[in-house]
Symmetry: C2
Subunit: 339 residues, 2 copies
Amino acid sequence: MTHLLPGNERTLPTLDDVARVAGVSRATVSRVVNGGRLVSADTAEAVNRAIGELGYQPNRAARALVTRRAGAVAVVVPETDERVFSDPFFPQAYHGALTAFSGVDVQVLLAMAQPGESAARMGRYLDSGHVDGAIVLSHHGPELAHELAKSAHPAVFIGDPQMPGLPYVELDQVNAAITGTNHLIQRGATRIATITGPMDMNAGMERLRGFESAMTAAGLVPVGVVEGDFTARGGELAATRLLAEAPELDGLFVASDLMAFGAMRVLRRAGRRIPDEVRVVGFDNSTVALQTSPQLTTMTNPASELARMAGEMLLGLLSGAALESPVILTSELIIRNSA
Amino acid sequence: MTHLLPGNERTLPTLDDVARVAGVSRATVSRVVNGGRLVSADTAEAVNRAIGELGYQPNRAARALVTRRAGAVAVVVPETDERVFSDPFFPQAYHGALTAFSGVDVQVLLAMAQPGESAARMGRYLDSGHVDGAIVLSHHGPELAHELAKSAHPAVFIGDPQMPGLPYVELDQVNAAITGTNHLIQRGATRIATITGPMDMNAGMERLRGFESAMTAAGLVPVGVVEGDFTARGGELAATRLLAEAPELDGLFVASDLMAFGAMRVLRRAGRRIPDEVRVVGFDNSTVALQTSPQLTTMTNPASELARMAGEMLLGLLSGAALESPVILTSELIIRNSA
DNA sequence: ATGAAAGCGCTAACAT
DNA sequence: ATGTTAGCGCTTTCAT
């Protein structure tokens, strides 16, 4: 970590060049570039014309130097690469974050945890001056949140970090699970089971909570509850167990589409017709929900919006704005053919 | 795109602070920070001690300003997010690129193409001064290569960009396909078909070329050749067609593991036993190769190494070094149970 | 081997 | 509303 790269000779137009061409001072150009307050319409126009002529683009480094800002934020994904890229939630979220910062000249870095890497290292990264803040995705347990809480830079979480004072945006998981489960019930299912997410993840726990709550409200008792890991393979395993433990099941609430995908495969292989014999509702409304047959009825989990929202919150935090947190987004039922 | 973010009050130790503590000049500190040439061992040690004491970290912006470097490179993925994240090749490659730049203080940005986005926009991004260079992954057709060729910044491609003068690192696709196909033949297959990659991608074409060459060399003629799209679903479709057109097939060379995954599902569903009745060889040695049953025999496609290599080439290019291109990496046969 | 000094391109007081 | 000025933290001649 000793040096940047050797120099580059190309010489681009600077603020001074623009000032000269427009016949004004550097400061004035700077003003129009930064929002144009306190400049007359005429000068602003002249400056803008000069900017256009020269193809001027502000130099990030110079700006960052004087503003004491890196001009970059990180999307922190405390997962190993494998999972990051195999779950469509992540790319959508990354994309949403990109959207939030598309209006300001801020670079969005993707920071994935390395397999053996500690939460402390992530915290150090945040404080290294390379980034001004972070959006943190899907975390197991509180270590990372703990670490980032003491960072000098702000971080906004997607999903409740379970740590008072840390801002986050979250899906209304419980109500979403209630809605999904109710749909199963309305479709006539009575012997309902669930495949949950990991119990060390908030999303896993809350979706289970919602499921249970809906069941109780309907006067039903689950015929099975097995924990999955948000992967297709995990869904298969869970469904296999479920079929053995509760063969009578006629409704299945699965805490992720990917798991539902795996589970449906097992159900079909076992000769259960969907949705006639077993109704299935998934979660995420991911692309795999369209690849199952029949297509999967599911709850939306708008990764992109969640992340965009988090990005906007971070932007606010960075400008010293007071923050309303948590921000809770609601999930919608997408009815297809699996229930 | 008007401004960065408002300022940050925290004041970190600077070169001056280090100089003061070490009792030397700024210039000397700078020297030791940047490699330590031309400084006596004693001074260097004193400086390093001061650096340690203060927890000094060079300010990227100041450095970038004077060196005229952004201190960032982009990994350009001209694919829409969906595919970027659903194919394990990408995360591995990204990771490899990260590795290449881990020793120098260079940020690695992930630039994904937006759905409706033009190659020109990517080119403009490269020239915007946000990055010093790029590594370009998996491209269809030559438009992007064309665009990047005229950029002032260097770009290294992973996969032959088919454009003279552009440096790239590539897998020895043809020989890899030959090896894979030969393995099928050695296992006793004689009625062999292939599922290819997209014909507008170099990897697709070259793997087909290798397949054909191996078949010819063995005096065999393919019983079927159908084009896939490197997705599991595409593999299913292709296998379905193959089963209809060439039901006698006893060997299948698939140009990607993901497609092989889909194809094997179809084969099994059709009652073909693998590897007894149909031998299957995939390509990529991706994680799905372990999830098929039986586990997939496949050719390695070391994404991480390819990208690391590309990163090192880019690093060389950025320091003005002469470059040897292309760099060709070889693929290895991983024998499992599908053939 | 080390220091002095200039300057990278920009923003932000502070004048006017 | 606009200009002047002083740095931000660093690298890099150029002296010594």
